[in-house]
């Protein structure tokens, strides 16, 4: 759920890149990270396996600048695409304001795309979210591959886009379509803020800092820990 702070005039939104394994979700974030000026982005956090498959999620915070007088921040997440990370996907999806479904345009991946889209709907349902109402855009990635290997945009639309949501052809490795996809989901999420649905901080409640993170003294980064223990409820 979007966090809107009227006192400091800030909006923070969570966008999740969803899709089957190897469809290009992490590649989208890497491209965005590489293009955005350093003062408008935070560190990209990737919890990945040794073979660079996403284990838990990738995370990239972006500062979109001021929109309608609000400082607007986007938190971009990816989920692990492999089927056996179902629980993890559900956890990352929690509190999402918008979803980018990254589909692999290769014809042989069609079944995986459909299964992943069904998985998305099921997980949204488990969070009590009506999948028909959540802001969603589709990205048909790898459209740069030879035509004999891929489904074209109309065929991908026919297979996946039964909601008629915005869809973007993309080559996430080189960039075409990545920016357009982010723009598309940002518009949908922010347009939704014109209505209800945000967690609001009332205007009469001035905050003590400009935002979380502003004005606090420098600190040391947490060091790796040597051992762990957990208490039970």
């Amino acid at each position: 759920m979007s966090l809107v702070n009227y006192a400091t005039r800030e909006i923070t939104c969570k966008i999740v890149y969803y899709g089957p394994g190897r469809s290009g979700k992490t590649t989208n974030l890497h491209y965005i990270y590489g293009q955005v000026p350093s003062d408008r982005k935070g560190r990209m956090v990737s919890l990945a396996t040794q073979t660079d498959r996403t284990l838990f999620f990738d995370f990239l915070p972006l500062d979109l600048g001021t929109i309608s007088g609000f400082t607007t921040k986007m938190q971009l997440y990816t989920v692990p695409g492999q089927v056996y990370y179902q629980t993890t996907r559900k956890l990352v999806l929690q509190g999402a304001d918008g979803v980018v479904f990254v589909a692999d345009s290769q014809a042989r991946q069609l079944e995986e795309n459909i299964e992943s889209l069904q998985d998305l709907h099921a997980n949204l349902g488990e969070h009590g979210i009506d999948a028909r109402l959540v802001p969603l855009v589709l990205q048909y990635n790898k459209q740069n591959l030879p035509p004999e290997l891929i489904l074209d945009v109309p065929a991908m639309d026919e297979a996946l886009n039964f909601r008629g949501v915005p869809a973007f052809a993309a080559d996430a490795l080189r960039g075409p379509g990545v920016f357009e996809t982010l723009r598309g989901i940002s518009e949908l999420v922010l347009r939704r803020l014109s209505g209800a649905g945000a967690a609001a901080v009332p205007p009469a409640a001035p905050a003590s800092g400009s935002a979380a993170g502003g004005g606090a003294p420098p600190t040391r980064a947490p060091a790796p820990t040597a051992r762990a223990s957990s208490g039970r409820r």
């Binding site: 956890l91 945000a198 606090a216 051992r227």
Partner: protein, 156 residues
């Protein structure tokens, strides 16, 4: 000692906790990773990353607890050579909040847990009873601003 908050009602409880428990870092966040208040960070982007990781740790350890004995862990203590982490949930009328705190040998896990109990009670007592329904947040012209900022962001 600086505490920065997104929602004012968390400020006093968080300030008391930081002062009493003598922790070096403290974060209050929602289970989906949105920050509500913090002490000790100096970059908003670092706060966001820390919140994302804290929410992930909490979510995964809770699932692990459910898997093992059918119930989530009440808290997680991670002890390093010089610094330690304590992460635990607090139930409020505004839903579950998470508190992540980092501390060194100026204090101890016992002290931190003791004052976390007080923090949890203060948050429960001070939480607003319901969310305020927001008025329209964005002006009709927001797409112009968005397009301008995205263009700046990608230098296109």
């Amino acid at each position: 000692m600086t505490v920065a908050v997104v929602e004012r009602w968390v400020e006093t409880p968080l300030r008391h906790f930081v002062q009493d428990a003598q922790v070096t870092l403290a974060l209050l966040l929602t289970p989906s990773g949105q920050v509500l208040g913090q002490h000790g960070f100096n970059r908003a982007m670092d706060v966001m990353a820390a919140c994302a990781l804290a929410a992930a740790i909490h979510a995964s350890s809770a699932e692990l607890g459910k898997l093992l004995e059918g119930k989530p862990f009440a808290g997680l203590h991670h002890a390093g050579a010089t610094r330690q982490i304590f992460l635990a949930p607090a139930e409020t009328r505004r839903g579950t909040l998470l508190c992540l705190t980092v501390f060194d040998d100026a204090t101890s896990i016992g002290i931190v847990q003791l004052y976390f109990g007080e923090l949890r009670d203060r948050l429960a007592a001070g939480a607003p009873s319901a969310r305020t329904t927001p008025p329209a947040v964005l002006a009709d012209s927001f797409e112009q601003d968005l397009n301008r900022n995205l263009t700046l962001l990608f230098r296109r």
